[in-house]
């Protein structure tokens, strides 16, 4: 579809604004008035202008650190945009995200990422959410489109492949827009792939791929309009490659010594701004004087905004700790009592079923979950709530978690399943760099209400790659909530709380617990509230997950010797119920910290340090840690039992602590 004259003029104005901003920022940096890492989009402004003009205001955009042109073209106001780039309080993220992390949901800008390729799975999730807006399937004609903008360098990272495959498989209304500027960081296109055009890769995913002149806003506009129309009509994604050039290299100060000077000279000869100006004059759309006036207006506007922004305040000191996570609902989510004891597995299924029945926004995704999931946890849910809400995925952990992040940004409450915790390595970027940080980096604008369920096979003799408790990887990242239930009632209540929570929660399911039965009374279990599973006066075992039951067994055996052990089940590691820990150990004056994970660098170290710091004068003995030995979990049953922290090692530790001091 060809653009009309008004659209042509609008695209020129957008390009003028990008060029004016770029020049002003480069001047501000070289004068030393501001210090920032600046990734100039100059040379790529025609791509952004074409995309911006082809999209609706409510369409979603996901872009990258070299994204100022995209942000301006999508309609992000200059003032909060430049303020964020310069670290000021009135920035899009209150100055906490910076130039690589601008978001402005009012203009559909849902994510700017500093990590190459990571935006693509998130875009797929946004597109999925858009198909569900306004009810099942939505009205195709009204459907929002999501554009994922990325560079040629990103087409070599796994996230690109996983996202393209998933989006094509699910026929999502997404447009993968590769701004091929000839370089991935400092490596030229021909030195990072043998494919002639990035768009050639589209065929591998079963979607159309087109290559257009990215220095011609009209060509970009037409390609994006066509792709957006297809997407809105439910015909799935398109890979659009816009061939362009970055005129100032990778980052401000890049001397471009890796670029052939003749190539750069030629690129400047074909730079989009002068070319479009000439064309509009030739076609009688915009005269030379009008063009000059438009460019002068853009420069003047930018100068005024930039002056104000530079004079604006930096963020308050309080902002350091604000927006890391939102508050967890202290009330939790109650449910009707269940008759008779049920298993942890059934309790998890129940929580998912109840959440899906209560809230249309709750959706599930993961490998093989539509039938039942590898451990039968999701059995029956697709039948009860529809296959559209219980989605099987390819074996693509980055896409699963990235799509969950995007779906959460798009208004859904996704519950993603990663089959084993050992596979978190595949998707840690999505979890730790995106889910965990998007609330903070956006100054609270884009929280990520998602749940990641994952199983741990320790104790099942399934070997070192299906057995690890890796909660310490997660508790170390501010922004994630981490939950490990030990009973059916807690599993039901905690999972319901996770789904209702506005932050990313990781819910850990130890497989050896799944068949353990207990009464589910439906009492709410809010996040951040520990539970005394057994009262005692002589020593506290601080623990969580299946080790709670080991601790209770050992406590029973010691009771026969007149020793009363208190067993404190943390239930959630983040947020941690410090008050309960200190209250218990403050009374018993002795503590052993127990978990299934390897002791070295484990969450127990955090607990032991916290207890020692707060109760140094009260403790009668050092806080001992009991956990797995520092080895990959061995396969042979006898060795696995030796490596894991069984009741014997706990008993030994308790006896040592009880014999100390006093």
């Amino acid at each position: 579809m060809k653009p009309g004259n008004e659209t042509l003029r609008k695209m020129f104005e957008t390009m003028a604004l990008v060029v004016a901003c770029d020049e002003a920022l480069r001047d501000v940096i070289s004068s030393g008035a501001a210090t920032m890492s600046y990734y100039s989009p100059r040379g790529q402004e025609a791509v952004a202008a074409g995309v911006g003009a082809a999209l609706r205001p409510d369409d979603y955009l996901v872009t990258t650190y070299r994204g100022m042109h995209d942000q301006i073209a999508k309609g992000v106001p200059l003032r909060p945009l430049l303020a964020e780039m310069l670290g000021r309080a009135e920035g899009t993220g209150k100055g906490k995200g910076g130039p690589m992390h601008v978001v402005w949901p009012d203009a559909g800008l849902m994510l700017t990422t500093g990590v190459v390729g990571s935006g693509l799975p998130i875009a797929a999730g946004l597109a999925w959410a858009a198909t569900r807006a306004g009810g099942e399937g939505g009205d195709a004609g009204e459907r929002r489109v999501t554009v994922a903008s990325f560079g040629d360098g990103a087409s070599n990272i796994g996230a690109f492949h996983e996202a393209c495959n998933l989006a094509a498989l699910w026929q999502l209304p997404v447009l993968f827009l590769c701004q091929n500027n000839g370089y991935g960081e400092h490596t030229a296109f021909a030195r990072h792939q043998r494919t002639a055009h990035v768009a050639d890769r589209a065929v591998a995913y079963g979607m159309p791929g087109v290559t257009v002149d990215g220095n011609d806003p009209v060509a970009v506009y037409e390609a994006v309009r066509d792709a957006a129309d297809r997407a809105r009509a439910g015909e799935g994604p398109t890979l659009v490659e816009a061939v362009t050039y970055r005129l100032f290299g990778h980052v401000f100060g890049d001397r471009m010594t890796y670029v052939d000077p003749a190539e750069l000279e030629q690129a400047w000869e074909h730079e989009p701004m002068a070319r479009f100006r000439r064309r509009l004059a030739e076609e009688g759309v915009l005269g030379a004087d009008e063009a000059a006036a438009a460019e002068a207006r853009a420069a003047a506007e930018v100068a005024v905004v930039l002056r104000d922004v530079l004079a604006g305040p930096e963020p308050d000191d309080d902002e350091v700790g604000r927006d890391v996570v939102g508050p967890s609902d202290p009330a939790g989510v109650p449910a009707p009592a269940v008759e008779g004891p049920i298993s942890v597995r059934a309790a998890i299924t129940l929580a998912l079923d109840q959440a899906m029945a209560a809230d249309d926004r709750v959706v599930l995704l993961g490998e093989d979950i539509a039938e039942s999931g590898v451990f039968g946890v999701t059995k029956g849910l697709a039948t009860a709530h529809g296959a559209d809400r219980v989605r099987d995925t390819p074996i693509s952990e980055q896409a699963i978690v990235g799509a969950a992040v995007g779906a959460a940004l798009g208004g859904l409450r996704p519950v993603a399943e990663v089959m084993f915790m050992d596979f978190l390595g595949f998707c840690l970027d999505q979890l730790a760099n995106h889910a965990a940080k998007l609330r903070y980096m956006s100054g609270g604008r884009t929280p990520v209400p998602m749940v990641l369920r994952t199983a741990v096979g320790g104790g099942l003799q399934v070997g070192a790659q299906h057995s690890q408790m890796l909660e310490a990887w997660l508790t170390h990242v501010p922004g994630l909530k981490v939950v490990v239930p030990s009973t059916p009632a807690d599993a039901r209540g905690l999972l319901a709380s996770c789904i209702a929570d506005d932050d990313p929660c990781v819910f850990v399911e130890q497989v050896t617990l799944l068949s353990r039965k207990g009464v589910v009374d439906g009492a709410p279990v809010p996040l951040g509230v520990a539970d005394v599973k057994r009262e005692g006066t002589d020593v506290t075992v601080v623990t969580y997950g299946r080790q709670v039951h080991d601790a209770l067994a050992v406590a029973d055996s010691l009771a026969g010797r007149g020793i009363e052990v208190e067993v404190l089940d943390l239930r959630t590691l983040v947020p941690l119920d410090e008050e309960a820990v200190l209250a218990s150990v403050g009374r018993t004056r002795r503590a052993v910290v127990l978990h299934e994970a390897v002791v070295t660098g484990g969450f127990g170290a955090e607990l032991a340090a916290g207890i020692s710091e707060a109760l140094f004068g009260t403790l009668l003995a050092p806080v001992l840690r009991v956990g797995a030995l520092p080895a990959p979990l061995p396969y042979a049953g006898r060795l696995e039992r030796l490596a894991l922290p069984g009741p014997e090692r706990l008993l030994e530790a308790l006896e040592w602590v009880l014999a100390s001091g006093g």
Partner: protein, 79 residues
């Protein structure tokens, strides 16, 4: 306009003012190269963001911190 030593790259904290390109007191135009700075990583030529008369502040061969004044370019009514 007071010109300070710019930060060129994530890890830069200081640089040597390797060489003045524009003469002290010269009328410089916007975009004209003023000086060359050298870090452990790279040498960069810095252009004037405005037009005016150059007053050098920094000395050749000396090391400056990011943000230290290096020059002033006075008046933007000349080209």
């Amino acid at each position: 306009m007071l010109l300070r030593l710019p930060k060129m790259g994530m890890e830069m904290t200081e640089a040597v003012l390797a060489r003045w390109i524009a003469p002290d007191g010269a009328l410089v135009s916007k975009g004209e190269l003023l000086y060359e700075m050298e870090t452990d990583k790279v040498t960069n030529e810095i252009a004037s963001p405005v037009a005016g008369r150059l007053r050098r502040i920094a000395e050749e061969g000396a090391t400056y911190q990011v943000g230290d004044p290096v020059a002033e370019v006075v008046g933007d009514d000349v080209s």
